[in-house]
C-alpha cells in the first residue's frame, strides 16, 4: 500500500520531456540573460531553472531596494514642504 502511494507521488514529481522542453522554452523568453546569449538550443533544463531562481531573487532584491529608497526619500523630506507635496501626488 505504501508502495502504491509512493509510486503515485513519484510520478507526480517527474514530468515528461516534452512538457519540460515547452516550459523551459517559455522561461527562456522571460529571462534576460539567457535571451541575450547566442542562440543555443542546448541550454540545459537545470541551467534554465538555476537562472530562473537567480532572476527571481534579483527581482526580490530590487523591490526591497526600491522600497528602501522611497522610505528614505519620505524621511528626508520635510512633511509640510513642497517636495513632500510632489511626492505625495505621485504616490497617493
Amino acid at each position: 500500500m505504501s508502495n502504491r502511494r509512493s509510486r503515485q507521488s513519484s510520478s507526480a514529481l517527474r514530468i515528461s520531456d516534452d512538457q519540460m522542453i515547452d516550459l523551459v522554452s517559455k522561461l527562456r523568453v522571460l529571462l534576460p540573460e539567457i535571451r541575450e546569449r547566442r542562440r543555443s538550443d542546448k541550454v540545459s533544463a537545470s541551467k534554465v531553472l538555476q537562472e530562473t531562481c537567480n532572476y527571481i531573487r534579483k527581482l526580490h532584491r530590487e523591490v526591497y531596494n526600491l522600497s528602501d529608497r522611497l522610505s528614505q526619500l519620505l524621511d528626508s523630506v520635510d512633511e509640510d514642504s513642497q517636495e513632500a507635496a510632489v511626492i505625495r501626488s505621485l504616490l497617493m
Binding site: L30, L49, C53, L59, V63, Y64, R69, L70, V77
Partner: protein, 195 residues
Amino acid sequence: MQPTSSMKEEFLKKWQMGLQIYRPLIDNTSVSERRKAIKLSADVAMASLRKGTTCWSRALIQKTATEDNFLVRQMLSGIKAETLINKKLPKVMCHRKIVRRSKMILRRRQSRSAIEEVAAKARKLVKKKTQGLRNVVPGGEFMSNDVLLIQETLDYIVSLQTQVNVMRSIVDAAEAGSERTAYYLGKLKFAIEDG
C-alpha cells in the same frame, strides 16, 4: 508574455491605495517601518492583480496577512479578503522520505548502464534546481506537481517584472521631482532675495 500597460496601471492604483491606508502612519514611523509598509502594499497590489486565480498570489496574500492583517483586508474588497486569507492551502502532497526510501530500494535492484547513470544524474540535478525554485516562489512548497510549479513561476515572474517596473518609475520620478522642486525653490528664493 510581458508586463502590459493595463497590468502596470492596475498595480499602480492598488499600490497607491495601500500607501493611502498607511498615510497616517507613514509620517510618524521609522525608516524601516515605512519601508516594510511600502513593500507590503506593493506585494498585496501585485498579488491582487491575479484575483486569487494563482497559487502564488494566494500564498503571498496569506503571508502578507500574517504580517499585517489590517492592510490586506483593506486593500482587497471585504468579502474576498476573508476567503483569500482563510482559504486553506493544499496539504503538502509529496512525502519525500517515503519516495526516497522506495527509490533507494528500486535502485539497489537495478544495475545501470553508463547512459542510464548520466540520465539519472541529469534528472537529479533538475530535481534539485526545481526544489530551489519552490523556495523562491510563494506557495512553492505546496506545488508538488512540477508542471504547475513552472506555470506558476512564469506568471510570478511577469508579475514581479510589473511590480519592479512601476516602482522604479515612481521612485525615480519622486527623487527627481523632489530634487527639481528643491532646486527651483532654491532658485526662486535666491531671485526674491536678490531683488
